[in-house]
Symmetry: D2
Subunit: 135 residues, 4 copies
């Protein structure tokens, strides 16, 4: 099976703009999270449920490359793909595009470590890892 992919839609909030007249760059990192959450939901592993089971997915690394500015009231699609699941490490990729003209605004990756409630490194249950890897 191919790696899971999902799309989340976002309408740019006024709060997310800055005085340059475009979306402030740290907000794309929040949008990555919105994409990730929809990805997990789409494979039947809503993050809320994972947390309730004591499976936390901490962020170890964020990389973002900005191509074009998003603007107030733009409709945005965050396209999210699982890149790799190995042991307690998960890599996820993102493309942020403007709906309508399909302009690529930003792309990036995040690396995650699975931890337990005491913040100790843990492993995903095998069935979850398989689902996340698209197996």
């Amino acid at each position: 099976m191919p790696a899971p992919t999902a799309e989340a839609r976002i309408r740019v909030r006024y709060a997310e703009t800055d005085q340059m007249g475009v979306v402030y760059h740290a907000n794309y990192v929040v949008w990555f999270e919105v994409g990730r959450v929809e990805l997990l939901r789409s494979i039947g592993l809503p993050y809320k449920q994972l947390e309730a089971e004591g499976i936390l997915i901490a962020v170890a690394e964020v990389n973002a490359r900005y191509k074009r500015p998003a603007r107030y009231d733009d409709e945005i699609a965050v396209r999210t793909t699982v890149k790799q699941v190995r042991g307690s490490i998960i890599r996820i990729g993102y493309q942020v595009v403007r709906v309508g003209d399909e302009e690529l605004l930003c792309e990036g990756e995040t690396v995650h470590v699975v931890i337990d409630r005491e913040f100790k490194r843990a492993s995903l249950p095998e069935a979850y890892a398989a689902r996340m890897a698209g197996e």
Copy 2:
């Protein structure tokens, strides 16, 4: 004793501006919290310690009146005063001014309810309530 008062200093972040070229209004509500935290620290009741003791101070109401816009890189003073402490209810007042010209930018109040870890209404220990009321 007079009601406790404290001043917190903030430098406006680029992230806090919006495309109108001024500080986005919801950020003043965050600044009120910065002021409140300094007020509690100044009377020897750091909020971190209160939380560790199971004393949570939830926000029940926020009122803010905007007078003049704050701008990027302005240095801001948040002046915070305890207005009332009665049972589980605490009222706090705020004045947000620009350092330098002393321009009043925003003023407001928050109302709080003391709760415990299960989010049940609780009372401040008497000694804490007295200190907060300036007695």
Copy 3:
């Protein structure tokens, strides 16, 4: 005609929670703005277009009363109503409810002043004011 009313839907982001395990209170003020923007769009006056025409709607006052906490991943409806349009002043009301159990989480009002690009007080064009007042 009745006063214009609109509903916006929001999925609570992890970024919007705080260490109390609930949505941080200043985010409701951002959600009010999301509701306001949908209200304006629903009456054919998208705020983006107003700004392009040099009609800015500044926030003069915010009041919010918190009833129940919203939590991560909750689906939220922001129901927004025009309360009053008079001269350059606009009053808008909000109810924030959780979709599903219809629990009222927060209600509030904002007061706005219409200004021009130089931040001088201005009036809405009559046709716009009428539409906003539901006339």
Copy 4:
């Protein structure tokens, strides 16, 4: 001359935490900006002045690696260094440490492009570039 370096101090706000009980990861990207702004100020090029002169410094890339969680009310130091200035490209590095135990919490880099008010690629005036490069 060595590359310019500066330190900014931040007190972690309650608003910056999430329900994992630690600072939400996107906030470090905001803190990088706080560090960058202090760095520019320290070399006599406050960003506010640059913007007024029509010299905008857009963010082209952000990389952050998270080591340890910051917590509410921690005092944080953001140590910022210019890594490279070449043509319209500026690279900046960051270390975020907790004051007191000097624990390294996060490190990262940003890449910037100098642009003008029309968002066209531009160059720093030579004197500014030299100052930024520590020459």
